[in-house]
């Protein structure tokens, strides 16, 4: 796919916009694509990124530079081409009208829950955490879309001092647990304790998980995740899992 725009929004995060041709299906919130910079065989494999924003002409990915693949992707410019495979995986289910949807995003996990916010109507509460204030991205864009926005930073440089989980613990003690449904995406350090927490409070929840991937199509068994019902493939049975399965 052709790169239309590639914009840094912080020194570590950029938004990559690709032209959507008819051959590429539009995603559902929570789905992802494998992106491969096509320069040689190093790096070799596609990298998974959640669909962030899209319309009929283009799709955007919100990407954090972590390693070589993302560094390469950050250098692509309008007119360049990137191989795109997707949309892949399962979507977040639509929030039921009887429950308040609470979105939990840790770091770049924001990309995936943000797409839910944009595409599925709901009276959202958004809890968003990062290391420090500059890493809380696009908060001005989020505000008008949600009923309540809570920001958390590890260093206290903005909002609640502490991580999303600490905030959420406080939060659930006040909210009646059966009236909320949680949609979450973030690093393992956030999703692991979150699962336990949701189970403890018996809260309905959907979590987007990460695992290294090769094929993205359910063929290689590389992205396996241990679940109650055996090994599941994050690329097929995920990335969004109902916490009951996990």
């Amino acid at each position: 796919m052709e790169v239309i725009d590639n914009r840094e929004i912080t020194d570590r995060v950029f938004i990559l916009r690709l032209r959507l041709t008819e051959s590429v299906l539009k995603p559902e919130p929570g789905q992802f694509y494998l992106l491969r910079p096509d320069t040689g065989y190093d790096p070799l494999l596609g990298r998974p990124f959640s669909a962030f924003r899209w319309n009929s002409d283009w799709i955007e990915f919100l990407i954090r530079k972590t390693g070589r693949g993302t560094a390469l992707l950050s250098k692509f410019r309008p007119g360049d081409h990137i191989r795109l495979l997707g949309p892949l995986g399962r979507t977040f289910p639509s929030p039921s009208p009887h429950k308040t949807p609470v979105l939990l995003a840790g770091g770049i996990g924001m990309a995936s829950v943000y797409s839910l916010l944009l595409n599925r109507k709901g009276d959202y509460i958004f809890i968003y955490g990062a290391k420090s204030a500059p890493e809380l991205l696009l908060t001005e864009d989020i505000k008008p879309l949600v009923r309540e926005l809570y920001l958390c930073t590890d260093d206290g440089s903005m909002g609640f001092q502490g991580n999303v989980i600490e905030f959420f613990k406080k939060f659930v003690k006040e909210a009646p647990s059966h009236s909320i449904v949680v949609y979450a995406c973030g690093p393992r350090e956030m999703t692991e304790p979150l699962m336990k927490l949701l189970r403890t409070y018996n809260i309905e929840g959907y979590i987007s998980l990460e695992e290294r991937m090769a094929c993205g199509l359910g063929a290689c068994m590389g992205c396996a995740k241990h679940t109650k019902r055996g090994m599941k493939r994050v690329c097929m049975e995920g990335p969004v899992f109902n916490i009951e399965e996990l």
Partner: protein
């Protein structure tokens, strides 16, 4: 233009198949690949009982390659025959089933259950990612001989292929043993045992510590092994290891392969198998080659 090749009794409409474990049970790729166009589909290794495989993480990318330690997660023989095979049978292509057992008996049980149901059976005697897996056989020539002889005896109709390991003591000697025992073909190379370490946590990148290296990185090693083996035996070779383009496929054919299998490249480009068939056609056109069989082992040296 003839692209048809023969592996034992199995006639493939073109020399291109998929490498076991990289194409699922075929179905996973049907959105991208019309299976009718492939010479054969080789499916993920099957064991007697379903297996969970190794705990994650199971894959890691390395320079121009990847290491995997899937550990043979598979649905098991019964589910394969009941659920996966009927779907595949709906296509006009050959079906090759890769099998792996812990004991000679298990291998024999697998092969006799599949005999006649599939076009070919590929004995995986070299999976580096299963503790009691075939590695044991591939590192002992005489054990290998016993194993393949016994399996050979269980098979009446399907073609029997033995998949050799680049980590075995001497791959050429093992290929000769296969020929002596009356195996119809060998396939090579399986992944090369490898590992990677996260220097910040000091832990291995894979939960299984080591895994198998595949992808373009290993192609020059595979080509050399196929060339050496081709000079030593007269049975056909199904070659694999780092094939990404038609050029790579032809390189292996010139080195001595009768058919070639695409593995890791499916992850890089899901339509790669078809692109390669097309590319082989173009090459034959440009170089005025009427019959693909005339290219086999055609290296000039």
């Amino acid at each position: 233009m003839n692209l048809e090749v023969k592996i034992g009794n199995m006639i493939m409409k073109n020399p291109v198949t998929t490498a076991s474990g990289t194409f699922g049970y075929g179905r996973e790729y049907t959105e991208f690949v019309d299976l009718n166009l492939l010479g054969a589909v080789t499916v993920k290794g099957i064991s007697l009982e379903p297996r969970e495989g190794n705990p994650p993480p199971r894959i890691y990318e390395t320079p121009c390659g990847m290491i995997n330690s899937i550990g043979l997660q598979n649905v098991g023989l019964k589910n394969f025959i009941d659920e996966k095979l009927p779907y595949l049978k709906g296509f006009d292509t050959r079906i090759i089933v890769n099998i792996l057992g812990n004991t000679i008996d298990e291998y024999c049980e697998l092969s006799s259950a599949l005999d006649g149901k599939v076009d070919a059976i590929e004995l995986n005697v070299s999976c580096p990612n299963v503790k009691k897996g075939g590695v044991f056989f591939s590192s002992h020539n005489e054990m290998l001989r016993t194993l393949i002889k016994e399996v050979r005896a269980t098979i009446k109709r399907s073609t029997l292929i033995v998949k050799l390991s680049p980590a075995s003591a001497d791959i050429v000697i093992q290929a000769r043993i296969c020929e002596e025992v009356g195996i119809e073909a060998v396939s090579m190379i399986n992944t090369i045992p490898a590992m990677a370490i996260d220097i910040h946590t000091r832990r291995p990148r894979l939960s299984n510590i080591t895994g198998g290296l595949s992808g373009p990185a290993i192609r020059p090693i595979g080509v050399r092994m196929v060339w050496e083996t081709h000079r030593a035996i007269n049975i056909p070779i199904i070659a694999m290891g780092g094939i990404v383009t038609a050029e790579d496929a032809i390189e292996y054919i010139l080195a001595g392969a009768t058919a070639i299998a695409i593995g890791t490249a499916n992850f890089v480009n899901p339509t790669v198998t078809l692109d390669i068939i097309e590319g082989i056609r173009k090459y034959m056109l440009i170089h005025d080659v009427d019959d693909i069989n005339s290219l086999i082992g055609g290296l000039i040296c």
